[in-house]
């Protein structure tokens, strides 16, 4: 029978041999390689930075549009709705950036893994709400863009309501499709992740992992 304590001695022996058998490629630890490379954490931070800048630019542009059209409700109201959405996305992105900046991987594992999982939950919720609200907001946003960029008055009450209602009807369809075919839609990990985010699969997994972490962290002796 194999016992962990007996194996600990074998492990120590194995450990002694490792010193001779492992070769570290110091060339790969050179300045050029390390300074030029980006860790997963840095890629996330950079992506969030670009995303926040884009949302900030949209919020500012919409703010300017609202100021110019404050007396014309048919343009001001869609712009306010779009701006509200953009501000929500900006706040959510900034919250993720702040959470990402607070992560120091040199700190104890249980707390860092909890922080990472909380950040993941925040990202999934932002994606879910962003996409689902986006299918409704795109119609008023289209009116604003048509007016601001091309000077076209695209406002039409029937068209606007038809699109908002169409967007609303798309939400359950999108949820159903992503739940049903999420794992089969394309080979791209990005698409798969997106579909699983919308379907709530990733959120459920993240919640399970968080619960496991809490259990791991706080388990009472003899439980």
């Amino acid at each position: 029978m194999l016992d962990l304590d007996e194996l600990k001695h074998q492990w120590a022996e194995h450990d002694r041999k490792l010193d001779e058998s492992i070769r570290l490629n110091r060339q790969l630890l050179s300045m050029t390689n390390l300074n030029g490379a980006r860790s997963a954490m840095q890629r996330t931070a950079a992506f969030l930075g670009v995303e926040a800048a884009v949302w900030f630019a949209i919020v500012m542009a919409l703010g300017s549009f609202i100021y110019d059209h404050i007396g014309i409700p048919k343009f001001a109201v869609p712009a306010v709705a779009s701006d509200g959405f953009a501000m929500g996305m900006l706040i959510a992105t900034i919250r993720q950036m702040v959470a990402a900046r607070q992560i120091d991987l040199g700190r104890p594992i249980a707390s860092i893994q909890k922080q990472l999982e909380t950040l993941r939950v925040l990202r999934i919720r932002t994606t879910q709400w962003g996409l689902l609200a986006g299918v409704i907001v795109w119609a008023p946003f289209a009116i604003v863009v048509a007016k601001a960029c091309f000077g076209v008055d695209a406002y039409n009450t029937a068209w606007l309501w038809a699109n908002v209602l169409f967007g609303l009807s798309l939400i359950p369809l999108a949820l159903w499709l992503s739940k049903k075919f999420g794992n089969r839609m394309g080979r791209s990990p990005f698409i798969q992740r997106l579909m699983n985010d919308i379907a709530g699969h990733n959120l459920a997994t993240a919640k399970v992992h968080l619960a496991r972490l809490s259990e791991f962290e706080g388990e009472k002796p003899g439980k």
Binding site: M1, L4, Q10, L18, G106, A110, P189, R212, E217
Partner: protein, 183 residues
């Protein structure tokens, strides 16, 4: 927080220039390369995945090296970084793009790999492979001879909690390998 200064293993206290810092970093990682190897082996079965993880850890180690707190031992700090990166890597492994690397592109090369390992060590890796990411870390730290207090410090748990978990893992292992004949 003090930066890249002294630790219990004799790292210099005065601030270093980047090439000196780089040299110090390379030396320290070289001295503790076994940690890197064992963590990668415990979290990835495939050789290319192991190498991807090793490189991801190396990048993270270098980027965090400036924040290395001298009050902490380098091995403790390195374990934390390695395990935190490995657990995250393991979580997103299914959605990752894989790269096939040549021997020159590999950060770690082990001469015997798994083929020449004793059957008990292979069985141990098999047992570790069946554990969840957090218990993998616990077993690895225990096997490496860390005390319950050190393990608790690295994982952020209480010492009694670590003792309970280790005892439960020993029990699980005994049940799992009941009847296994020693080679």
């Amino acid at each position: 927080m003090k930066r890249h200064g002294d630790n219990s293993q004799g790292v210099q206290a005065k601030p270093m220039t980047t090439p000196a810092l780089q040299e110090r970093f390379q030396t320290l990682v070289d001295e503790h390369k076994k940690i890197l190897y064992k963590v990668c082996n415990a979290y990835c079965r495939n050789r290319d995945d192991r190498e991807d993880l090793a490189q991801e850890i190396a990048i993270q180690l270098w980027q965090s090296f400036g924040c290395f707190d001298e009050r902490c031992r380098f091995s403790t700090w390195m374990y934390r970084i390695c395990l935190n990166v490995a657990i995250s890597f393991y979580r997103r492994e299914s959605t990752r793009t894989r790269y096939v690397l040549s021997d020159e592109d590999r950060l770690l090369n082990a001469i015997d790999e798994t083929a020449n390992q004793p059957v008990e060590i292979q069985a141990l890796y098999q047992f570790i492979d069946g554990l969840d990411s957090l218990n993998k870390a616990l077993v690895l730290l225990y096997l490496d001879g860390n005390s319950y207090l050190e393990i608790a410090d690295m994982l952020g748990l209480s010492e009694t909690n670590v003792a309970t978990k280790i005892s439960r893992l020993k029990q699980t292992m005994r049940q799992e390998f009941r009847g296994t004949v020693r080679a």
